[in-house]
Each structure stands twice: as C-alpha cells, then as structure tokens.
C-alpha cells in the first residue's frame, strides 16, 4: 500500500476576453477497490453557476457557466490517495460495451494484420515460450502490451487528440494516448473487454493514459507506453471507451481568442 500526495493544476489564458463560456471537467480521482482518496481540495474559477454530475462511466464531473467576459480560467486539485496494488476493481457493468470497437479504436486492416503477426510470433517472441492461445488472459494482455510498446517510437507532437489507433500504428510514432488506443483495439479484436484510463503516474509532469483489461473477473491495469503492469504509483482519474470519454477539460465559449495552457502535475510518495 502506498500513500501518494498529488497536485494537478491547469491554467488557461486567453489573449482577448471570452464570454458565454460553458465547461465540463473530469478531474476527480475515482474511488474504488484499489484506490481510496483520503483528502481532496478543489480550487477553481467556477463562474456564475456550477454543479456536479457523473457521466455514463461513473466519472465525476464538475460543470458550469461563466457568462461574463474573462481572460483566465483554471483549476487546481490536490489531495492524498491511498493505493493498494493487491486489490482490483471488479465492476462488471458495461462489459459488452468495452468489448466493442469505439470511434478511435476501429478495427482497421493495419490493426488486424499487426495483431495477427503478434499472435503468430508469440511462441518465439514472448517470454512465456508458449503459443498465444495457450496464454492466460493476463499473459495475453501483457504480451500484447509489449508488442504495442514496440510498435511505436515514443514521439511527442506527431499525433494529436484526433489520431485513431490505426493512424498511430501506421505512423509508428506517438504518445501514451496512442499506445493505449492500439492496445485497446487489439484486445477488443480478441473480444477482451478493455477500457481507456486517464490518471497520474509518479514522476510524470503531465496526465498519463493507460489501459485496463478484464481478466478473469477483475480489471487489470497495464501501461503499454512503459511496457509494464500498473503499480501503486498510478492514480486513476477516469475511464471510458477511448480518449473521447475521458477528456479532462472541455469548454465551449464565444470570442476569437488565442488560448495558452499551463499544466502542472506532481505526485510524491508519503512515508507510510
């Protein structure tokens, strides 16, 4: 068990004032079997009205409206999370949905071929020295995560939030979001329910994305960007079918402003 102190700040600056601004934020760490939130402080520019809600996947959101002109918008969330790596989430709601392709993980030919090659080469390539169909579900997930890790060269700013799994794989480069989408597409082609996860990871200055796969009655987190299973250094914010379901900050405003964004993420381990 680990105790992690986290801090997450995002600040937007607009060069001219914007108005009629609606926003939705998914910034609250989830509470589940593996993760307990001991304390939480939320600071933000709420505007004239705001409220809380939950999306279809159970992610908590805060939404609101700022009618008056303003040139800044931001939020900060901080607190302490207790993560227990021994425990797993067992929520089996929507499994059939997580087994189906989503808009960013459509099963294009390039994904089918890559998956077939990975399965065919399993006996010689994997550390298990077994053919793919002999692996347990967790082993399959780990092996495919490794394959996915090898299929991309980590490169920031060559892909964007609209890049699909197939596009990233064709390009051969990308960031955590792209690794996660490719692994999701692989798992769903094999009818293994899998979901996209956004959260923090100790030592990273940004939010991170990884995958959870349904293995024998519980969700196993796996990080294809770093080719490892998730450990007690990961704090989960939200999950969904793909990136689109977990957008941290969504806004809608009037005004032809140029915006700039500053993000700060800090995660540090506290002595038990």
């Amino acid at each position: 068990m680990k105790k992690l102190r986290f801090l997450y700040q995002t600040w937007y600056t607009f060069d001219i004032p914007i108005y009629d601004h609606s926003y939705t934020l998914k910034i609250f760490p989830r509470e589940n079997e593996r993760q307990y939130i001991e304390s939480l402080v939320e600071t933000m520019s709420y505007g004239s009205s705001h409220s809380y809600s939950f999306d279809a996947f159970g992610n908590k959101t805060v939404y609101g409206y700022m009618g008056e002109p303003h040139d800044q918008f931001g939020f900060e969330i901080s607190g302490i999370a207790v993560v227990d790596g021994e425990k797993k989430e067992r929520d089996s709601r929507l499994l059939s949905l997580f087994r189906s392709p989503s808009s960013m993980t459509q099963p294009a030919q390039v994904l089918r071929e890559a998956l077939k090659a990975a399965c065919d080469n399993c006996l010689e390539k994997s550390c298990y020295k077994k053919s793919f169909d002999k692996l347990t579900t967790v082993e399959k997930v780990m092996y495919l995560s490794d394959c996915c890790h090898e299929s991309l060269a980590y490169t920031p700013e060559v892909t964007n939030i609209f890049t699909s799994a197939a596009e990233a794989l064709t390009l051969g480069r990308g960031v955590c979001q792209d690794y996660a989408h490719i692994l999701l597409a692989f798992l769903r082609l094999l009818h293994i329910p899998a979901r996209y996860v956004v959260g923090f990871m100790s030592g990273e200055g940004y939010t991170h994305a990884w995958v959870e796969a349904w293995c024998d009655g519980c969700w196993q987190g796996v990080d294809p960007t770093n080719a490892k299973l998730i450990d007690e250094g990961y704090i989960k914010l939200s999950h969904g079918r793909d990136y689109n379901d977990t957008v941290v900050c969504k806004g809608h405003f009037y005004g032809q402003a140029k915006q700039s964004q500053k993000i700060r993420v800090q995660v540090e381990e506290l002595p038990g």
């Binding site: 409220s51 279809a56 087994r99 189906s100 392709p101 969504k250 809608h252």
Partner: protein
C-alpha cells in the same frame, strides 16, 4: 370529396401562405420548396384502423421497453435475442445514455411509424422513427383548411376529428414534465420542419425557443426571459437531433444546442422529448428484430408485420441476398430520407457487382427487403386522376400513463408514376388521412 377537389388550388395557396414548406439544404445551398397537397384523402375504415391502432401501440410499447432495457439491464442481449454488435455498432446508440431512466420511463414520446399497404391489402411496417419524426402538422393544418373550404364534406362523412393532435401532444408533455414550462426547441427558421415547430408551439401553448434562448444554471434548465426573468423548463420537446443537442456531451461544434442540458436531464430535472439515444431502436438493422422484441417483452405475437427483410450479417441471409439480388431493395442503414435505397434490379454489370462486394465486405451496413407491391392511391394530377404509390406515417404518442394512436396520419405519395420513394425530401406530395369514425 368531389367538392373538395374544386378547392385544391385555394388550399395549396393557403398552405404556401402559412409557410407549409420544406427547406432542403443540399450541396451548400438552401432551397425551400412547397409540399404539394392533394385533396383526395386516404380513407381508412373504422375496423381497419382499430387493427392498426392495436398493432401500433403494441409496437411502440415494445420499442420503449427495448430502449429502457438497452440503456439499463440489457436482458435482450444477454438472452441472445439480438446480437450485441447490432446495438453497439449502431450510430444511434449513445453510451452517454447508459444508466439513465428518463422521467416517467418514457423514451419515445412521439413515434412516427411508416407503413405501406400492399396490393394484397395487408399492411407492412417499413420503418420506425423514434428520434424526432416530423409531419404531424401537415395533415393537421390541411384538415383545418379543407374544413373551411368545404364544411359540408365533413358534415356528410363520419371522419374522426384529427384536430386533437395538439391536445394530445400537450398532454404528453405535461405528463412527463418535471416542473416548469413546456418548450419546443427549434434549430431555427432554416430547418426543413420549421413550419411544424412554430405551428405546434402555437397550438400547444409551448414556448418556441432556439438554443440561445435557453441556459442551464446549476441543476436546472431555464428559458431566458426579459430582464433576467428566467423561467424553469420542465419539458423540452427538442426538434434538434441528438448529436447537436448538447455540445458539452455530443458534437462539440454545435451552436444550435444547449450546453449542459444533458447533465440536468440526467439528474431528472427536465424531460427531453424524445429521449436522447432513441436512434438505436429505429436503426434499419434493429428494425429486423422489432417483431422479436414484441414477443420478448410483451409475450405476444406482433400484430403488425415487417416487410420481409434479410440481414446480410447472417450468412444464410447473405447467400439469399446474393442469389435474389434483382428482386430485392438494398438499404444502407446509415442513410435516411430516401437516400441510400437501391433496387437491385436497377443496377447493371459493374455497378451491381460493386454494391454486392460492398454488402459482402460490410454486411452490418445493409439490409435487404422484398419489394412490396404497394397499393396505388388516386392522386389528382394536372390531367385528372392518376394512380401513385403512397405510404402512411402514423403517429403514436406515449405519455406517462397511456399510449395513444392519433386518428389520422401523414400520407405521402410519389409524384412520379411507378416510383415508390415517397419522401418529401425527394419531391413527393402529401394527403390528409381520414379515419372513419364508424
């Protein structure tokens, strides 16, 4: 009836004056065209309508149960009655609606069911429209004008009065209203059905609003009045499609929706008519399963039949479709308004092969139906009475406690001889539908 025919030009001139038009936005240009009215009504006998009424309320009840199941327990998928890929690959399925129970449990408040009558005089359902079916206002205003043109026609014949539509619609809105005013949300005057939006608002006493007139504040939706005098909205009959309804949950670029309206709907603080996510039930692929839904949820045999349909998704059906291609009509499930409908026999050589290949490659995208020989209806043409193909859109209103089939409907006909695509967006005309009261 003959008396009425003398007034055909007057009635059409009045319809044009009232703005009964159809706006079509195609290839970046907006064109408004009249929706030609034919004074010869479609007549449905009392007994025949009783049969339709029974079948239609049964069908809509089952469809509502299906929607509650899909966004809830998903029993019908677990029991293997419908393959899950049909649901999750449907563009009308909205994951955002998972776990939401709309006010009073009603999903499809206003349902438009398209039927045709075959030459064997049997009725077949061609399509269910559970999102925002339009068209009720056309027979409504046409009846009103016809009554003025020839009052004696309506005295002599025993015709059910269809002017109760507005009252039924208001009752439906009131019955699911969560506390507040009734509002009709329109995308604006360039929408194809703007006439209908304004007409129904006027007739039901609901406020006609565009997205900018509404705002979510905290946990409720408000109609923005003058000087900050905001009124809470309890029922929103939105004539904006799901994807544009709320830019914060659906299409981000939408300027015709209301930000966060979905959040307050989810909290049970406003009723949306019809509920978002209904598209999963009127998907052309799901259509095939509707008679099975009736059996599954209601334990009854479906009164109304589908047109004989094949799903290339099933191998056996695919083989049949390939073999009998020329006798079938192939429909792309993603298209609407009469687009994406191809008669197998109308294609030649390479073109035919291309469509066959496409069906083989993407079987989930298509359905194939036997071509039904529609019963022709008489239409008054410039040269006299001619026979044309027609369909019937019946309207079923579902409120908190009752399902009501409107004793009228929109009869659309093709103005081209032999053509069976009757959609108004394809240049068709319409008729009043008389349901005899005895």
């Amino acid at each position: 009836m003959l008396e009425l025919n003398k007034h055909v030009n007057t009635v059409n001139a009045l319809l044009a004056r009232y703005g009964v038009k159809f706006g079509i936005y195609k290839n970046h240009t907006f064109k408004e065209q009249l929706f030609p009215f034919d004074t010869i009504p479609r007549v449905i006998t009392h007994d025949e309508f009783a049969y339709l009424e029974k079948g239609l309320s049964q069908r809509v009840t089952a469809l509502n149960r299906f929607l509650a199941d899909i966004y809830g327990e998903k029993r019908i998928l677990k029991d293997g009655v419908i393959p899950e890929e049909f649901v999750y690959s449907s563009s009308g399925y909205l994951a955002a609606c998972e776990g939401i129970m709309p006010p009073k449990g009603v999903y499809s408040h206003i349902s438009g069911i398209d039927l045709v009558q075959g030459k064997d005089s049997a009725w077949y359902v061609l399509e269910d429209n559970l999102r925002i079916p339009s068209g009720a206002s056309y027979p409504l205003i046409a009846r009103d004008l016809c009554r003025k043109a020839s009052p004696s026609t309506f005295k002599r014949n025993h015709i059910s009065d269809n002017r109760d539509y507005a009252a039924l619609l208001k009752e439906t809105m009131d019955s699911v209203n969560t506390g507040g005013i009734n509002v009709i949300l329109t995308p604006g005057r360039y929408n194809a059905a703007f006439f209908e939006h304004s007409y129904l608002a006027e007739k039901t006493g609901a406020v006609l609003a565009t997205g900018n007139d509404l705002a979510v504040m905290g946990d409720y939706l408000y109609y923005k009045g003058y000087g900050g005098n905001n009124q809470k909205v309890g029922a929103l009959y939105r004539r904006v499609s799901d994807e544009y309804l709320d830019p914060m949950t659906f299409e981000e670029t939408s300027l015709i929706g209301v930000p966060h309206v979905f959040d307050v709907y989810k909290k049970g603080n406003v009723a949306l008519l019809n509920a978002p996510g209904n598209g999963v039930a009127d998907d052309k692929g799901i259509y095939y399963f509707v008679p099975k839904m009736v059996e599954y949820y209601l334990g009854e045999e479906a009164v109304l039949h589908n047109a004989p349909t094949y799903l290339p998704f099933y191998e056996e059906d695919r083989a049949y479709v390939m073999e009998h291609f020329d006798n079938l009509v192939i429909k792309d499930v993603a298209e609407a308004g009469g687009y994406g409908v191809v008669f197998g026999s109308s294609l030649e050589g390479e073109e035919k092969q291309r469509l066959k290949d496409l069906v083989n490659e993407q079987p989930r995208r298509f359905i194939a139906q036997e071509v039904i020989d529609f019963l022709d209806l008489e239409v008054l043409d410039r040269d006299g009475v001619v026979e044309r193909k027609a369909d019937l859109r019946a309207f079923v209103l579902t409120g908190a406690d009752q399902v009501h089939v409107w004793k009228s409907g929109l009869t659309r006909f093709s103005r081209i001889e032999g053509c069976s695509i009757v959609n108004s967006s394809q240049g068709g005309g319409f008729k009043d539908t008389w349901v005899l009261s005895r």
